[in-house]
Symmetry: C2
Subunit: 305 residues, 2 copies
């Protein structure tokens, strides 16, 4: 087994533990339940879900390491007639109950491709991932904090990385059919290969460091906003906006569609979907309201740092 | 303008009126609001939505007649480099508040293709449509009634039609990623062309007659179940099941994805989405409960007539 596969597997296990412990501590009521699952064809994962907590209405922090022959849709995607793969990653989505606390998503993953079933002839390898924030009520200082922490994680690896991956995030988490971003962005990167003077080990460091910065980016915002009062109409707005989250995940998100096409474990994939959601016909926020101001920002992504 | 285009346009207008009047009468509280819209490139539609009623929590009964150059994704779909079209149809989805009353969907449409922008050289023409029922609590007699009325509408046009279109409905409204049907089926037909001894006029009659049978198929069920008592946990189950409805519409439904790809009016397309929806992690109904019995039927589509 390659060193990176071993070390990255240990990394995602450790990060899952660290994040779950921190979230349980803040929540103070609900605990993560754990489901281990195996994949037909090789590998499996550990899904951890927290529900109906004091702070977190629903959240999942999942890891998986899967391997085997490339599923047919992936062969088609990569335009190869045969191939084998190994993929390991951590993926999380947290939906707080209080609409003043933003939803967050993060994912850090490593992928290897081989020419042989024995996984000895590696033909390609890359890292991917990112983290992004989806507020229902926006405090600019929260967006600045989130982006600043992610930028600080990127910068030691090259000052060009944050602006590039921030832009990619705005482009990726975009509901084209609504003409608006899912949230206020963060980082999105993929296919980070040995290339252009970067070693795979460099990208490994980069990916693990951005993953380690997740709690610093998110938790201070949770702690700051979890005691903000809210009313039913703000909760209603949260449900409407969560509908947009569902639309993105089911219509556009490559990870979700990839999971469905390759017969991934449905309940692990759909842990990302919000608990309470609502679709009203042609819902429009009141002029000059906080709700309308959020939409303005989502339609015109900003530079936060 | 061809006779069929004119007459089918009148037909869908009349059916929209008839259905909206009947639903308003049953609801007794909410009225449909109407939005007329125009399409860049030609045509437009009339969206009618009812919300927060006594009986109907959300429902849309939309008609549209659109025409012009084929949008790029449709050219690709039909494998043509140029072409013009006319499409007219009625589409409805009704979400009652009481979980004992099933959700229903129906759609009846006519499509013409041309070789010229002037729409004088028609190269193809066909009808499509259907109706299907999505209960949250199942009374077998309701499923039998719904299918019987639809079969009676089909039979005068050929006894082979109901079994064929019933089967196509079971196949189409299927959440492959869940291994279960969206509901208990009905009819689904498409590309009904002049062919095999059938004239386009025959299919026109068939499509209009099945459309006219919609109220007879659905309203008696509404009237029978709208006074059934229900409790919060049954409403919760309805929200969970509505999540499956959203999954089908956003992941699998060709009509929805077609609308999104061709820049259709989003609010008219998404009127089909249920108002209150919920995703819990790995929600399982109690053994031998009514909820579990529904799932059994959805996993093993039945012959109801």
């Amino acid at each position: 087994m390659s060193n990176i596969r071993t070390s990255f597997t240990e990394y995602i296990r450790g990060l899952q533990n660290e994040i779950c412990i921190a979230l349980e501590e803040i929540d103070g009521k609900s605990k993560f339940r754990e489901d281990q699952w195996e994949r037909d064809g090789g590998g499996g994962g550990t899904t951890r879900v927290i529900e109906k907590g004091n702070v977190f209405e629903k959240g999942g922090v999942n890891i998986s390491t899967v391997h085997g022959e490339l599923p047919q849709p992936i062969k088609k995607h990569f335009q190869v007639s045969e191939g084998w793969f190994w993929a390991g990653g951590i993926s999380l989505v947290i939906h707080p109950e209080n609409p003043m606390v933003p939803t967050v998503h993060a994912n850090f993953r490593y992928f290897e491709l081989y020419d042989d079933a024995g996984m000895s002839r590696r033909s390609d390898a890359w890292f991917g991932g990112g983290a992004d924030l989806t507020p229902y009520y926006l405090w600019n200082e929260d967006a600045v904090h989130f982006h600043t922490v992610l930028k600080q994680a990127c910068d030691p690896h090259g000052s060009e990385l944050y602006p590039l991956f921030k832009k990619q995030c705005d482009e990726y988490f975009y509901n084209t059919h609504r003409g608006e971003s899912r949230g206020i962005g963060g980082l999105f990167f993929d296919y980070l290969r040995k290339d252009n003077g970067r070693s795979l080990a460099d990208w490994n460091d980069f990916t693990e460091n951005t993953g380690r910065s997740f709690l610093d980016a998110y938790l201070p915002i949770v702690k700051k906003r979890m005691h903000e009062p809210w009313n039913p109409s703000q909760s209603y707005w949260q449900e409407i906006r969560r509908g947009r989250y569902v639309e993105f995940n089911l219509i556009h998100d490559r990870g979700t569609l990839f999971g469905l096409k390759t017969n991934g474990r449905i309940e692990s994939i759909f842990m990302s979907l919000p608990p309470r959601v609502r679709w009203d016909y042609d819902f429009l926020p009141a002029p000059n309201s906080r709700e309308e101001k959020l939409i303005e920002v989502l339609k015109n992504p900003r530079e936060w740092v």
